[in-house]
């Protein structure tokens, strides 16, 4: 297997008595958009959580840009350049939209640049600009999702992981979100994407992994997976 900026080897991970990942190895190459697909409960979110340090791995190795990040706590993982936009929005409910965005830039210095990034996000999602002062917990589901995506972008990572970013977004906003994701990949940021909208994900990715029951069962270029009989039946509804 070719080595990537992010290399994961034989990672095992779980919660209490439950083993969610049973030895996963994957490589994300610099500047690529890599998709991770799989059924409910397959372990996609757990994979992302393990990378960002939310769930400590029980075995295995993780390296980012050659540096070992196995077992590192989330702030260190973020500081090393990996951002994670978590599943289920997870906005800070009692903070305003603007404060939520500022939290995304918590580790950054230089208020001028941060403000410029914030304005860029407002331009992408005008709805957020309208609601700068609203408590994030009172936003609609889709508005919260936009905020979560914007917040993750605020940290200017070298690798960004999205967990179901299109969840709850209106079709036109989904399109825009995917355009943004392609855009940041094109600008050189590496992307690891978990999506239930498997068709869209496979279409735009450079490489994809299929996860079942905590194991990677298939990997290849997006177009290859789209053609795969098993994938078509189980994930693309056709």
């Amino acid at each position: 297997m070719e080595r990537g900026v992010l290399e994961i080897r034989d990672m095992v991970c779980g919660y209490g008595g439950v083993t969610a990942l049973r030895g996963i190895s994957l490589d994300v190459k610099a500047g690529q958009l890599v998709a991770l697909i799989g059924a409910n409960g397959a372990g996609k979110s757990t994979t992302l959580r393990a990378i960002s340090g939310l769930v400590p791995p029980r075995a295995g190795q993780m390296r980012f840009e050659g540096i070992d990040i196995t077992g590192a706590r989330p702030p260190r993982v973020l500081a090393s350049g990996i951002a994670h936009c978590p599943e289920g929005r997870r906005v800070f409910p009692h903070m305003s939209v603007e404060e939520n965005l500022d939290m995304g830039a918590y580790l950054r210095r230089g208020s001028g640049e941060i403000a410029a990034d914030r304005d860029r996000i407002y331009a992408e999602f005008p709805r957020l600009a309208e609601r700068r002062r609203q408590a994030a917990g009172t936003l609609s589901g889709g508005e919260q999702q936009m905020l979560a995506i914007g917040r993750a972008l605020m940290s200017r990572p070298r690798l960004i992981m999205f967990d179901e970013p299109s969840l709850g977004l209106a079709p036109n906003i989904v399109e825009r979100t995917f355009a943004i994701i392609r855009g940041i990949r094109d600008a050189g940021t590496t992307v690891l994407l978990v999506e239930q909208n498997a068709f869209a994900a496979l279409e735009m990715c450079d490489h994809a992994y299929l996860l079942e029951n905590g194991r990677i069962v298939l990997s290849g270029a997006g177009s290859e997976l789209i053609e795969n009989e098993h994938v078509r039946k189980a994930y693309l509804g056709g």
Binding site: P74, P75, L78, A79, F92, M103, A135
Partner: protein, 290 residues
């Protein structure tokens, strides 16, 4: 009329006191979500530090204040590290009970070390009060009011306007996500508890000389602090300040014009009434369903 004016002035100085009691707890209870039964002990602790520094070591009164604040900070940090950190993620009632245990043990420790006899602290302020027409007020209490106002402003600024304050609020709303934002949540837990504790100690250090210092002095203070924090809405510093003044007003007028036997009842009746009309305190946070 002059009696009423005097009651109003009393309300003002008492309200400042209550606001000061409230803000430390609003950090720990309102923001951190820890039912902090040690708040009263930390208050007592601040007062005893004042006593030690001024009476036993013979040092300056104004020097003693920052010493008490620092001591409160350290004790708070120690409590967080030893008692709360190992139980992180446990249910709120479990941490509450641990704090009850700490409260009982620490209060008895105070009794053991210093005995039950009340102590008092000499202050550099003149004993003769400031007299303005029909009302009088002691200089010491004016000083306490001013110091309280300053502490409240600093806390308000810290929580609402700084990046540390933002990280604190974020951490206690969703600590996993906060850590994904790069927040060192362990540090935030410890420092929030320590800051809240140092405010409690500051309140004790300021009020110890106004009143007298004894091991159970914190109990009543803590109950009032809880009431104030909830009256103003959890985690809301402005709310806690206003809550403090409302409680003071209720007590002062209750004792002055209803019956002194029901002085404390007035405060509690107000709390029940307010919560019936505004079930989440005077300054509720916006919530939504669905």
């Amino acid at each position: 009329m002059s009696e009423f004016l005097q009651h109003l002035v009393n309300m003002l100085v008492l309200g400042g006191t209550y606001a000061l009691l409230g803000i430390g707890l609003t950090l720990i209870f309102g923001i951190m979500n820890v039912v902090n039964f040690t708040h009263g002990v930390l208050y007592t602790f601040g007062a005893y530090i004042m006593f030690i520094v001024v009476q036993q070591l013979g040092l300056n009164f104004f020097l003693a204040l920052p010493v008490a604040v620092l001591a409160g900070w350290l004790l708070g940090a120690a409590i967080e590290l030893t008692l709360l950190r190992p139980l992180r993620g446990s249910d709120i009632d479990t941490t509450m009970l641990v704090m009850i245990g700490a409260w009982i043990a620490m209060q008895s420790g105070t009794l053991w070390i210093w005995g039950g006899v009340a102590k008092s602290v000499a202050t550099p302020f003149p004993e003769a009060p400031l007299v303005l027409g029909p009302v009088s007020v002691s200089w010491l209490r004016l000083f306490v009011l001013a110091a309280a106002a300053m502490l409240i402003l600093v806390t308000y600024f810290l929580i609402n306007k700084t990046s540390l304050g933002r990280a604190m609020r974020a951490t206690f709303q969703d600590h996993d996500t906060a850590s994904l934002m790069g927040v060192n949540v362990d540090m935030i837990y410890t420092s929030t508890f320590a800051i809240g504790s140092s405010l409690a100690a500051a309140a004790g250090a300021l009020l110890g000389p106004v009143y007298v210092i004894f091991p159970q002095m914190g109990d009543l203070a803590a109950v009032k602090a809880f009431a104030i924090v909830i009256l103003g809405g959890l985690g809301n510093i402005t709310g806690a300040v206003i809550g403090g003044f409302i409680l003071a007003l209720a007590e002062e007028l209750g004792a002055g014009y209803v019956s002194s036997g029901y002085r404390d009842a007035m405060g509690f009746v107000i709390i029940i009434a307010v919560l019936i009309f505004r079930p989440t305190g005077l300054f509720a946070r916006a919530e939504r369903v669905g």
